[in-house]
C-alpha cells in the first residue's frame, strides 16, 4: 500500500500543485494572485504530462544507425510545448486586462470591483 502511494509520487505532486492553484484562483480576492494561481494550475498540468511521458533510462528521441534502447515519447512534450506558449499568452492578455482595470477603477480587489457595480 505504502509502495503504491509513494511509488506514484509524481501524481501526488501534481495533484497538490493543482489544488494550490485552484485554491488561489477561487479564494483570493486580488486579481494578480488569482493569475498566479492560474499559472500554478497550468504548471501542474504540464508536470503531469511530462512525468507521464518519462521512460526510465530513456533518451531524447533522436535515432541513428546502429542505435538501440529506450527513448522518451516525444508526443506529450510537443503538446506541452504548445501549451506553455498558450499559457504565457493567456497570462499576457490577463495581465493587460488587469492593468486596464486598475487604470479604470483604481483597484484590483475583486470584492471592491463587484461593489462598484451598483
Amino acid at each position: 500500500m505504502i509502495e503504491f502511494v509513494l511509488g506514484k509520487y509524481n501524481y501526488w505532486i501534481y495533484i497538490i500543485l493543482m489544488m494550490i492553484g485552484f485554491y488561489a484562483m477561487i479564494a483570493k480576492k486580488n486579481l494578480i494572485k488569482k493569475l498566479i494561481g492560474m499559472n500554478i494550475f497550468q504548471t501542474a498540468v504540464f508536470l503531469f504530462y511530462i512525468s507521464l511521458a518519462d521512460v526510465e533510462g530513456g533518451t531524447a528521441p533522436i535515432v541513428w544507425e546502429g542505435w538501440s534502447g529506450a527513448y522518451v515519447n516525444p508526443l506529450p512534450h510537443v503538446l506541452i510545448l504548445t501549451a506553455i506558449v498558450v499559457c504565457v499568452s493567456t497570462t499576457a492578455v490577463a495581465l493587460a486586462i488587469v492593468i486596464r482595470i486598475y487604470e479604470e477603477y483604481g483597484t484590483i480587489e475583486e470584492d471592491k470591483l463587484l461593489g462598484m457595480r451598483e
Binding site: 510545448l81 504548445t82 504565457v88 499568452s89 499576457a92 492578455v93 495581465l95 493587460a96 487604470e103
Partner: protein
C-alpha cells in the same frame, strides 16, 4: 514600488540572456524559438508592469513591432526558399552550402529558431501592448 522597480531592473537583463540561450540551444536540446521568444516577451511584460506603458513603448514602438513580426516570418520562409534555390525541398537544411550536411542543418535550424523567436516575441508584446493600451478618445 521602489522594490518592484529595482528587482525588475536587476532581473530583466538576465531573463533576456536566458531567452537568448534557450533560442540558440533549440537545435541540440530542450529549447527553441517558441520558448525563447515567449521568455523574451515575458521580460518585456515585466518591464511594462514595473515601469508603465510609456516606458515600454519607448523601447519597442508600434512600427518596430510590426516590422519584427514580419521579419521573423521572412527569415523562416527565406531559409525555406533558400533550400529550394540550392536544389532541395522546402526546409531541407542539410543541402545548404555551409560545409558538411550536419553543420548546414545545424545552422539552418538555428536560423529558423531565430526567426520563430523574433516573431513570437513581437506577437507577445503586440498582444500585451494593444490589450493594455488606453482606448483612443
Amino acid at each position: 514600488m521602489i522594490i518592484i522597480r529595482t528587482i525588475a531592473r536587476l532581473m530583466i537583463p538576465f531573463i533576456q540572456l536566458f531567452a537568448l540561450y534557450v533560442i540558440v540551444h533549440g537545435g541540440s536540446g530542450p529549447g527553441g524559438g517558441f520558448q525563447g521568444g515567449v521568455i523574451l516577451g515575458a521580460s518585456m511584460i515585466l518591464l511594462v508592469i514595473a515601469f508603465g506603458m510609456e516606458e515600454g513603448r519607448k523601447r519597442i514602438s508600434e512600427k518596430l513591432n510590426v516590422f519584427l513580426i514580419s521579419l521573423g516570418v521572412v527569415i523562416y520562409a527565406g531559409i525555406g526558399i533558400l533550400c529550394i534555390l540550392v536544389g532541395g525541398n522546402y526546409l531541407e537544411y542539410n543541402i545548404l552550402p555551409f560545409g558538411t550536411p550536419k553543420h548546414a542543418s545545424e545552422l539552418g535550424i538555428l536560423g529558423i529558431e531565430i526567426g520563430i523567436g523574433i516573431t513570437v516575441f513581437a506577437v507577445m508584446t503586440s498582444i500585451f501592448f494593444n490589450t493594455a493600451a488606453r482606448p483612443k478618445k
